[in-house]
């Protein structure tokens, strides 16, 4: 059995129940995934509570950190969407902080990476897709359908372009969710495999150890980068919904 193998790279993604719960016959047990979701929001809340209890004009370190993250997301939203995006800022900001902390907590050995599960990332991507589509139709009416037919394209190309645009629009939530999930899944599996090599090779294990250190740095980068990519793509989709002409 693979589960008996101490270096089974998939083992870390297994979901185990901590407290059993059921509502109307549906299993909604509190699992390790739920625990690390709680950890992620607790980490975010701790950061902001520490940063915001003693607010001052000249910020201390924690306040600086929370203001940096605020300005980072606010600037991203302003650059991508403009002033109309202000209403969606709380969601974008929460989204970034949640994914960012899930990714980073998952890097700690023996932890669980919430974002390595497709259902979680797909829940976000699906929600964003639905919301963006609804916002697009509310703001532009049927004019929102123009995004499937970019201006400046000759009419005889329409039968070719429109289906491509529709497919690319519908595949947005899939690409968005799979990108994040696959990055987390692959990265953590490789880390586990190389960590296993260190144990297997004994004294010669220093070679995979060096590689593991480099890989870990890369994974740290990817954890931040994927949170950033997920957030900026959300902003771009939102911009498409608010300004379908561009």
């Amino acid at each position: 059995m693979a589960a008996d193998n101490p270096i089974d790279p998939i083992h870390q993604f297994e979901i185990s129940k901590i407290a059993e719960m059921q509502i109307a016959g549906i299993d909604i047990s509190f699992t390790n995934s739920s625990l690390f979701m709680v950890f992620a929001i607790a980490a975010t809340m701790t950061l902001f509570i520490l940063g915001l209890t003693k607010r001052s004009i000249i910020p201390n370190r924690m306040q600086m950190l929370s203001e940096l993250s605020y300005n980072f997301i606010a600037n991203m939203l302003r650059d991508q969407v403009g002033d109309q995006g202000r209403a969606y800022f709380p969601f974008i900001f929460s989204l970034f902080m949640f994914i960012f902390f899930c990714n980073f907590i998952g890097l700690i050995p023996y932890t669980f990476t919430v974002t390595s599960h497709l259902i979680v990332t797909f829940a976000f991507a699906g929600l964003i897709f639905l919301a963006v589509t609804i916002i697009g139709f509310i703001k532009n009416g049927l004019g929102y359908l123009r995004i499937f037919y970019p201006s400046g394209i000759p009419i005889f190309l329409a039968p070719l372009i429109v289906p491509i645009e529709i497919i690319s629009y519908l595949s947005k939530p899939i690409s968005l969710s799979v990108r994040l999930c696959a990055n987390m899944l692959a990265g953590h599996s490789i880390l586990k495999i190389f960590a296993g090599f260190i144990v297997m090779l004994g004294f010669l294990g220093f070679a995979p150890l060096i590689f593991l250190v480099v890989l870990y740095a890369l994974e740290t980068l990817i954890a931040a980068l994927q949170a950033y990519i997920f957030t900026i793509l959300t902003c771009i989709y939102l911009n498409d919904a608010l300004h379908p002409d561009h």
């Binding site: 719960m21 390790n32 625990l35 809340m45």
Partner: protein, 182 residues
């Protein structure tokens, strides 16, 4: 108690107790039975985070950042005001310096002129005095010269008379002698 024990187990999943966990074939990501639980807890945690961000973090952060912006722009305004005030004062100072130097130049030139005039007057006065003294002394010298010439003449005549009287009986008169002398 059992709950906390399980948390402990999941934070350290390599412990043997972990073997109690569920096992399923294939990727755990594809185990549909875990989806409702993940979605349920995702909704709960993310909603909590969203509300926290919306109601607590963002208002506070934006007011702090606004306050700082206001403070900075106020300070910049104050600094600009003070700067213009300082340049005004500097201008005033320069003006005053200029007028003072003009005034002092005037004073210097007027006092120079006064001094020159005084010196000229003094010179003239002295020249007049000196000239008067020179003419006076010239006159005196002239007078003395004439006097001494006459005396010399008289003495000469007297000498000639006395010498002549020793050799001749008839003593010539003074006029004759003076005629001869000349």
């Amino acid at each position: 108690m059992k709950f906390f024990l399980k948390i402990f187990i999941f934070v350290f999943p390599l412990s043997e107790a972990y073997a109690e966990g569920q096992k399923s074939a294939g990727l755990p990501q594809m185990d549909i039975s875990t989806f409702p639980s993940q979605l349920f807890w995702l909704i709960i945690t993310f909603t909590a985070l969203y509300l926290f961000m919306w109601k607590f973090v963002i208002p506070r952060l934006s007011t702090t950042i606004e306050e700082r912006k206001d403070k900075i722009s106020n300070d910049i305004n104050d600094a600009e005001n003070l700067n213009s005030e300082a340049s005004k004062i500097l201008e005033n100072y320069d003006d005053k310096m200029n007028s003072a130097s003009l005034e002092s130049n005037e004073i210097v030139s007027s006092s120079k002129a006064a001094m020159n005039a005084y010196l000229d007057k003094l010179k003239k006065d002295n020249e007049i005095k000196i000239n008067a003294m020179i003419t006076e002394s010239e006159r005196k010298i002239h007078q003395q010269k004439q006097q001494s010439e006459q005396e010399i003449k008289k003495a000469t005549i007297d000498t000639i008379k006395s010498i002549v009287s020793k050799y001749v009986e008839t003593v010539p008169s003074d006029d004759e002698i003076s005629k001869k002398l000349n």
